[in-house]
Symmetry: C2
Subunit: 246 residues, 2 copies
DNA sequence: TTGAGAGGTTGATCCATATCAACCTTACGA
DNA sequence: TCGTAAGGTTGATATGGATCAACCTCTCAA
């Protein structure tokens, strides 16, 4: 396999202590006195152009990444060409945890727009986590959250219908945008219908039809990638009892 | 929600240092000199009867569990009654990692047969992990593996057909039995067709038909819960190019 | 300003799996 | 030993989403 795309480790060193994302990221819950020590962790920031990989399946694992700006998808490719998007990732979220288990990344991480990540040496992270209780705990929480959200994706993929899946997806995005200080009801999708479909276990046409259906029902308004949520209560109900809207 | 079933913390204290599961479990990769220190971690063993919960969604999290004997499923229940099995777990595997993120377990863990677990105080684990590098790393590997395997379940649920799903499931079981010193080709299923279906995102009838199809094709032989794999190569091919057998 | 390609929508048809139903098998307690 | 319930299989039919196809709408570069 070809190695990762040209790395551009700009030395725009910025500190965790001054980062406005700290409450979404690893530094959360760490005592002020310790936060300065994190700055040695984030040695480098790296810029990734839209559509470029941050890492690829099989690349050797040495670092995890915190998204500083932009967004990513991660996906798995099967030999026969099938793709499964396993996640969409926004600022403050941590990428690369899948690499710890075997020492090789187990998926591809691709930028959905021009993005910037903090490179966190995994070796240094383990070292610091041994010294700073709060960092250790927060790191465990981050991993555990990924497990929990993967389980809810399994629920979605294993037992929800197309419309329910899309509703759950939109509500999840909405909630994550809110946590980042953006509007809960109005946002731009950074991914294509095909990528959404892959993530939700649906074909792009089905995703498109579900969008149209929601629009017709007055639940959302859609113009290409611009989404406005008009009735989040009914979207929520749609997930709980599919029957009520179908 | 009702609290967990009657706890029976038998004081059959056994040690990690003498446990034959150590190469599948948390002690893996830890220096001999440190292994004795793990024994303080596993304060208690607990017996769980078939069909009884080890923990339930919403129970407060204080411990993770290593399966000593027996097996478990974990599942999520939706308000409307839908169930999603999120995993089947065998000896040496760790349960409860989902609880770290919020301090509450996010799923139910139910014994599939009379089972026994080592109760690992999470507080003590963090403490020891700060002291023992090998334990810290192995714990991270365990969490990361769960993430990786959840991603491959998303792949399975999102882009595989019924027969492919069952083939992948059987091969996965086979491989895990092998790692535990059992036959790769002959084993007993501890779960019902309905539970398999829930796990694989299929109805029990579809699971049953897939079993029958595999048997007719000479890939496996099935008698109720007893499975014998007759042609694992073709099972593997089935996953890669569904076309070749369908 | 036009043309081409990528992304998106919508309609018609097909098919894999769900659903409904009958029946079979096994385990187990009365 | 029989009766019952839970689990499993198989058949007939229904249906949600996939597939195939046409067309629409942007964007962007020539």
């Amino acid at each position: 396999m070809k190695a990762t795309a040209p790395v551009t480790p700009t030395v725009l060193k910025k500190s965790c202590s001054q980062c406005n994302l700290f409450e979404l990221c690893l530094p959360l819950g760490i005592k002020d006195s310790d936060i300065l020590r994190l700055d040695e962790l984030v040695a480098v920031q790296r810029k990734i152009k839209r559509q470029q990989p941050l890492y690829r399946t099989g690349n050797p694992f040495e670092a995890i990444y915190a998204i500083r700006t932009g967004s990513f998808k991660s996906d798995i490719l099967l030999e026969d060409g099938r793709e499964q998007v396993t996640g969409f990732h926004m600022t403050g979220e941590i990428l690369g945890l899948d690499g710890i288990s075997t020492g090789l990344y187990s998926c591809n991480a691709i930028a959905l727009e021009d993005s910037e990540v903090c490179v966190i040496s995994y070796m240094k992270l383990e070292e610091l986590a041994r010294a700073i209780e709060g960092l250790q705990h927060q790191f465990h929480k981050v991993m555990s959250s990924e497990i929990v959200s993967d389980h809810s994706m399994m629920m979605l993929l294993g037992s929800m219908h197309a419309n329910e899946r899309l509703a759950a997806f939109l509500l999840n995005l909405s909630q994550r945008f809110t946590a980042r200080g953006f509007s809960p009801t109005e946002f731009h999708l950074r991914m294509t219908r095909e990528e959404i479909g892959s993530y939700l276990g649906l074909k792009l046409e089905t995703v498109s039809r579900a969008f149209s259906f929601f629009q017709k029902e007055g639940l959302i308004s859609v113009q290409q990638k611009h989404i406005r949520i008009l009735d989040s209560d009914r979207l929520k109900k749609l997930i709980q009892h599919q029957a009520s809207v179908r």
